[in-house]
Structures are given as structure tokens and as C-alpha cells.
């Protein structure tokens, strides 16, 4: 049986949704029209040159995943959580989530509910934080918008002590298909929030996850993302708008997906903002790990630091494309970016593309990229202390990746992400070169 094409499938699915407000209706219609005419981009498209979409575009994941019956095994994190939000095949599952300890300073709502009770407000939030673009996965998520989550710290100055855990479970055991989730996070002036986002998946699925984030003046948000989706295709896009003096920390680790594309767009709209984008990825087999980041320094006195490190074995491929855009008014911008990759086999491949566009004259921007191998001297050092060659190599991979997070003050979160990486390293077949 030939899978239905995406356009047929998306068209049928999209028309089934019944939107209450004109704003939501307009977004859906526009996105559907765009996707029908553009579909998925080919490799000729600059932004998609290295991303192998052809397998996905053939359509095995084009049907929407049905609500899953199976109750997934609970994965309790070794960290105390304020709340847990479970999105199963794209559906916000109140029965699996736990919002009982949520303080009044934080509100969490399902987008499906907002679509029914507050469609105009939802449409205006979406227009504000996720304006429509010409991006194929954004078209999909807008054309198929069904559910998702809105998280809002409403009380100014509220420091939310423990993190909110967001767990996506994408269950393609019975049928392959796709799940589309839209999320919104708003943090009020001077408030602080931690979020941990995880993805678990089974079967051949596409997870299309898209976040719009707004940080009010002096607000801080720390987000940890640990992706170990197992043979899924994941598109994960985030757009962050930062107001004056706010800070966004993003800690990202990924491994084990057939195709993971991680896109980040951070916009500094207010002065004195800082963002810290840290990532580590471990690829094996034929995995493809793709990272595209854009930092828009629009106004003066903002800083950004970006460190991405990858380790690739077998035939895995890693892509890093990092754009730093310093606008004309963004004097005294201080932006640092680096991407380092270690290749564990001759057949692994890394493409790295730092891009700077600077239109202001008083700025400090540095970027660097390296591609190398494990330090053989250090491996011998470990071996001379009794550590086997396999373990020594794994330790070196751990050292290289976890170093991205060592400067973090929050030991709990950095230990968590380092452990996540450690888990994925255990599975890496270390080639003896």
C-alpha cells in the first residue's frame, strides 16, 4: 500500500477542524494553502541543503496519530517537579499530567481548551509569538493545530522553585503517523521559571513541536531539552522574544533520532538581554542531527553565548548552522559562538556553518568551529590507569560533551542533562579507528 501523500492527507485532516474565531480560522487556511503549494523543500533550498527530508516526504507519517490507548511507562525524573504535562500523540492528557502542586503564580492550559473557550486570545497570542512564516513545518503545525499547552507565569517577580516537566510521548506502535504540538510560554516581569522538556517515541513517527516564548523585562527562563526519541523524525522549533534585561538559558541534548532538526530563533527586543544556547549531541547509525540557530541582536547592550558540541559515529551526520545577526542599532553587542565536533569514524560527517551579519560598528563577535578526533594521549592516560579502551573512549566522549554544561550554576539541571548524554553514550559503538 502506498502511503497517502502529505498534501492529500493534510488537506483532509485540516478541513476537519472546526475553528471558533476568525483569527484561528485565517491562520489555518493560510497555512494549509501554503503547504498545498510548497510542500516540503528540496535540497536545493539553502536552509535545507543538508537535511534529508525525502524519506519523510514520501508520506509514511502523513496521517495524524490517533489518541493512544496504551498508558506509557512513567519516567520519573530524579528531580522534584512543580508540575508534569504529558502530551500523548499531541494531545494534552489531563489524566496523565499532574498540576496539583501548581502555585497560583503559574497557569497551565491546554490549547485545545483555549481553542474552544478563548479562540480570539489564542489567535492573538499565536500572532504575537508565532507569526506565520514560509517554513514547511510551521505550515503543518498551523494547518493541523489541535492541541498543545500554554504556560504562563502571571505573577511579577515570582521565582518558581522547581521545574515544570513537559513530556511528549509519540506512540507509533500501531500505525505510523505524525503529532503536531504548539506550545506557548510567557514569563512575567522579574519572574523565573525552569522547564524540562522530554521526548519519548516508538515506531516510525514524526513529532512536529513548536514553541513561542515571550520573556517580559528581567524575566528569566531556563529550559532543558533531552531528546532520545528512538528512530523518529523530530522537528523542534522555538522562537523567543526577549524584553529588556531578560535572560534565556537553553540546554539541549539529543541522540537516537533518525532525523532531529532543532531550530532556535532568539530575538533581543529589549536592551541588556542575555541568552545562553548550549547543546550536545551524540549520533550513531545513520542518524541525522541538525541544528539551526539564529540570534537577532536588535538593540544595544545585549549578549549571547552559544556552545554546541557533537560526537558522531558510524554514518551519523551532524549539521550546525548558526546565524548571529547584529542589527544597526545593536551597539555593544557581545556574541560568542562555537561548534566543535568529534568524528569517531571515517564515515561520520559534520557540516558546520557559522554566519555573522553585523551592521553595527561597536560589537564583539567571535565564532569558531572545529572538527577533530578523540585525544589519543588522554585515552592512553586513562588506559595506563587500568581503564579499558572502550571505556576510555566513552569517558572522553562524556568529557567532551559534558564540558558544555560545566559552567552552569544549577548543578541539579546540569547533572541531569549530563546523565542524559551519558545514557546515550552507552549505546554508541565506539569505532577503533
Amino acid at each position: 500500500m502506498v502511503a497517502k501523500t502529505w498534501t492529500e492527507q493534510v488537506h483532509t485532516s485540516s478541513l476537519k477542524f472546526d475553528d471558533q474565531g476568525a483569527g484561528l480560522k485565517r491562520r489555518r487556511e493560510h497555512a494549509l494553502e501554503q503547504f498545498m503549494s510548497d510542500g516540503f523543500p528540496s535540497r536545493k533550498h539553502e536552509e535545507w541543503r543538508y537535511t534529508p527530508l525525502s524519506r519523510l516526504a514520501e508520506g509514511p507519517c502523513s496521517p495524524l496519530l490517533e489518541p493512544s490507548e496504551g498508558i506509557p511507562e512513567s519516567s520519573d525524573l530524579p528531580i522534584e517537579m512543580m508540575a508534569k504535562v504529558v502530551l500523548l500523540n499531541g494531545e494534552f492528557r489531563q489524566d496523565l499530567s499532574d498540576l496539583s502542586a501548581l502555585p497560583p503564580a503559574v497557569r497551565i492550559q491546554s490549547l485545545n481548551q483555549m481553542r474552544r473557550t478563548d479562540p480570539d486570545q489564542l489567535a492573538s497570542l499565536l500572532d504575537q509569538f508565532l507569526p506565520q512564516t514560509s517554513h514547511p513545518f510551521h505550515h503543518l503545525s498551523d494547518a493541523l493545530l489541535d492541541d498543545g499547552v500554554h504556560i504562563e507565569v502571571v505573577e511579577e517577580g515570582a521565582k518558581i522553585e522547581s521545574p515544570i516537566h513537559i513530556l511528549h510521548i509519540i506512540d507509533g506502535q500501531a500505525h505510523s503517523g505524525s503529532a503536531h504540538v504548539t506550545g506557548l510560554i510567557q514569563v512575567a516581569t522579574g519572574a523565573h521559571l525552569d522547564v524540562i522538556e522530554e521526548i519519548r517515541s516508538t515506531g516510525e513517527v514524526l513529532g512536529n513541536l513548536r514553541w513561542g516564548i515571550g520573556l517580559d523585562p528581567q524575566a528569566t527562563l531556563k529550559r532543558v531539552r533531552a531528546f532520545r526519541p528512538e528512530c523518529a523524525s523530530i522537528f523542534h522549533g522555538t522562537r523567543v522574544v526577549q524584553q529588556q534585561g531578560s535572560r534565556f538559558d537553553d540546554l539541549f541534548s539529543s541522540s537516537g533520532g533518525e532525523l532531529i532538526r532543532n531550530e532556535l530563533h532568539v530575538i533581543h527586543e529589549g536592551t541588556g538581554c542575555h541568552c545562553e544556547l548550549l547543546g550536545a549531541y551524540v549520533g550513531r547509525g545513520k542518524e541525522h542531527l541538525d541544528h539551526h540557530t539564529t540570534i537577532d541582536h536588535k538593540v544595544e547592550d545585549c549578549t549571547s553565548r552559544e556552545v554546541y558540541r557533537g560526537v558522531l559515529s558510524d554514518r551519523a551526520r551532524g549539521v550546525f548552522s548558526g546565524m548571529i545577526h547584529v542589527h544597526q542599532d545593536a551597539q555593544r553587542t557581545d556574541a560568542k559562538q562555537s561548534n566543535d565536533t568529534i568524528l569517531l569514524s571515517d564515515t561520520a560527517e559534520a557540516n558546520t556553518r557559522p554566519r555573522l551579519e553585523i551592521y553595527a560598528d561597536d560589537v564583539k563577535c567571535t565564532h569558531g568551529a572545529t572538527i577533530g578526533e578523540l585525544d589519543e594521549n588522554a585515552i592512553f592516560y586513562l588506559r595506563s590507569r587500568g581503564v579499558s579502551v572502550d571505556e576510555a573512549r566513552k569517558i572522553m566522549v562524556r568529557a567532551f560533551t559534558s564540558e558544555v554544561f560545566v559552567q552552569m550554576e544549577d548543578r541539579q539541571l546540569s547533572d541531569f542533562i549530563v546523565n542524559e548524554i551519558q545514557e546515550s553514550i552507552q549505546a554508541v559503538e565506539v569505532d577503533h579507528g
Binding site: R383, S384, R385, V387, I395, F400
Partner: protein, 263 residues
């Protein structure tokens, strides 16, 4: 030294080794018995570190001829990590830094690897900390260094102390100390040497590679060898080191000239 045994701990015969086609060791014979301390001296580039690394199992060097017996087993058959697990320890002339891995993690991983090899259970974290603390006292090392990345940004002296700390924790049978004294200030030299002396025992042999008599005032050797151009040119007791201190190595050339080896 008292308590010498007849059994050899390490017996090297006719060892030749090369790196990338260049021969460096040209027939080394050395017999180290259990409990003995041997000092190896000799000019820069004569092959001391090469010998130490070949014994530790570094694969960059190829062994072209000769045999090495270690406690009755063929050492050259073992991989570097197996040698370590069998009780060989090399204190590096240039200890390697490993950013991203804490010293404590490194030590515990090494100790557990050795213990697993010996069919012992992994060390309990609390016991481990206690053990490390007592050994850090022995080498006069600041506990802060335990939580820093391995040798990363360590001063020269801190790196050398760290080597001896590792030796003390891993409790080897044969320790090879490659210029552990260089880079140490006068007080540190004494502390490290006292640490090494505290680890001296009947069943443990130590080979110290050094340029200076000063270390041998503290760690008194049973035998002193002079390595020159990949061969042992002279062997003697501790007085040989004193003699070298006075006369340097110029006599080596004279010997060479006499033997007509200069070509």
C-alpha cells in the same frame, strides 16, 4: 635494602624499540627484583621516557626485539590497561589534562577498573572519599584539586603530585616515575619523595627516571643506570649518581669514541 627476594619483578632482555621507523631503544637489559628501587639517569633524548612508555604499553612504539618478563608473565602480550590492572604504574613526565572529567571521577573510574580486573567489588563512594583523602594528605595535595578537571590548569607541581596521588590510590606492584621531580619546588620535592618512600615496601619495586641527584638523596636507590643512545651505558650503586652529578655525561662520548661508535 633489606628483604630482597631472588625473584625478578621485571626482567628486560635485549629490548629494542622504534617509533615511526626510528630506532630509539637499542638493546636494553634490566633486572628489577621485588622491593628494589632503580634509578635511570642519562642525557636528554637518550630514551628514558621511551623505555617507560614501552613498559606501560604505549602503542605508538613498536617493539622490534627482546623480551620483557613481569612477575613471570610476558608483559609485551598485554595491552596498556591490562598492564595497569596487573600492577604496573607509570607516572607521566607530562601528565595529560582532560577537560570535562573531574579528578575524583577519574580516580574512582581507574580504581574500579583495577578492582573489577581483580574480581573485587567496586569501591563504595564513601570509602573511596576516605581513601583519597588519606592519600592526598600523604602527597600534601589540596582537596580542591579533587573536584577540578584532571590536570586542567594544574601547575607543574600540582600535576606531579597528582601522579603520585594516583599511584598511592592504585597501589601498584611496579611504579615507574618519569621525572616526577622536575617542576617541583624544594619543599614539594621533599613531600613527594616522602610520599614515595611511604609507599616503598618489600613487594613493590620502583623505577625512578631522574636528572638530579637531589631526588635520590630522599629516595635512595639500590641500583643506578645510565641510559645513553638507547642502551644502558653504565650501572652501579647510588654512588654512580653522585659521580654523575660531579662529572656530567662527557665521559659517555669518550667511551663511545673509544668503542669506535661515533660514526
Amino acid at each position: 635494602m633489606s628483604g630482597k627476594k631472588e625473584n625478578s619483578m621485571l626482567e628486560i632482555k635485549g629490548l629494542c624499540a622504534s617509533v615511526e621507523g626510528t630506532t630509539i631503544l637499542r638493546g636494553i637489559d634490566l633486572d628489577v627484583k621485588a622491593g628494589e628501587v632503580h634509578a635511570i639517569m642519562g642525557p636528554n633524548g637518550s630514551g628514558k621516557s621511551t623505555l617507560a612508555n614501552v613498559l606501560a604499553g604505549r602503542e605508538d612504539y613498536s617493539v622490534d626485539a627482546g623480551t620483557v618478563q613481569y612477575n613471570g608473565i610476558d608483559l609485551l602480550e598485554l595491552s596498556a590497561d591490562e598492564r595497569a590492572c596487573e600492577g604496573i604504574f607509570l607516572a607521566f613526565q607530562y601528565p595529560v589534562s582532560i577537560p570535562g572529567i573531574s579528578n575524583a571521577y577519574f580516580l574512582r573510574t581507574a580504581l574500579n577498573a583495577v578492582r573489577r580486573y581483580r574480581d573485587e567489588s567496586e569501591v563504595d563512594p564513601v570509602d573511596f572519599l576516605e581513601l583519597v583523602r588519606s592519600k592526598m594528605d600523604l602527597v600534601g595535595m589540596d582537596e580542591k584539586l579533587l573536584h577540578r578537571a584532571v590536570n586542567d590548569g594544574f601547575s607543574g607541581g600540582e600535576k606531579k603530585r597528582n601522579e603520585i596521588l594516583q599511584m598511592a590510590v592504585l597501589d601498584p606492584k611496579l611504579a615507574i616515575l618519569d621525572e616526577t621531580d622536575s617542576g617541583l619546588d624544594i619543599d614539594a620535592l621533599r613531600i613527594v619523595a616522602e610520599g614515595v618512600n611511604a609507599l616503598r615496601k618489600e613487594e613493590r619495586s620502583i623505577v625512578v627516571v631522574t636528572h638530579y641527584q637531589r631526588l635520590l638523596d630522599y629516595i635512595v636507590p639500590d641500583h643506578v643506570h645510565v641510559l645513553s643512545d638507547g642502551k644502558i651505558a653504565r650501572s652501579g650503586d647510588k654512588s654512580l649518581a653522585l659521580e654523575l652529578e660531579k662529572e656530567g655525561y662527557s665521559w659517555l662520548q669518550a667511551d663511545d669514541a673509544k668503542a669506535g661508535n661515533n660514526a
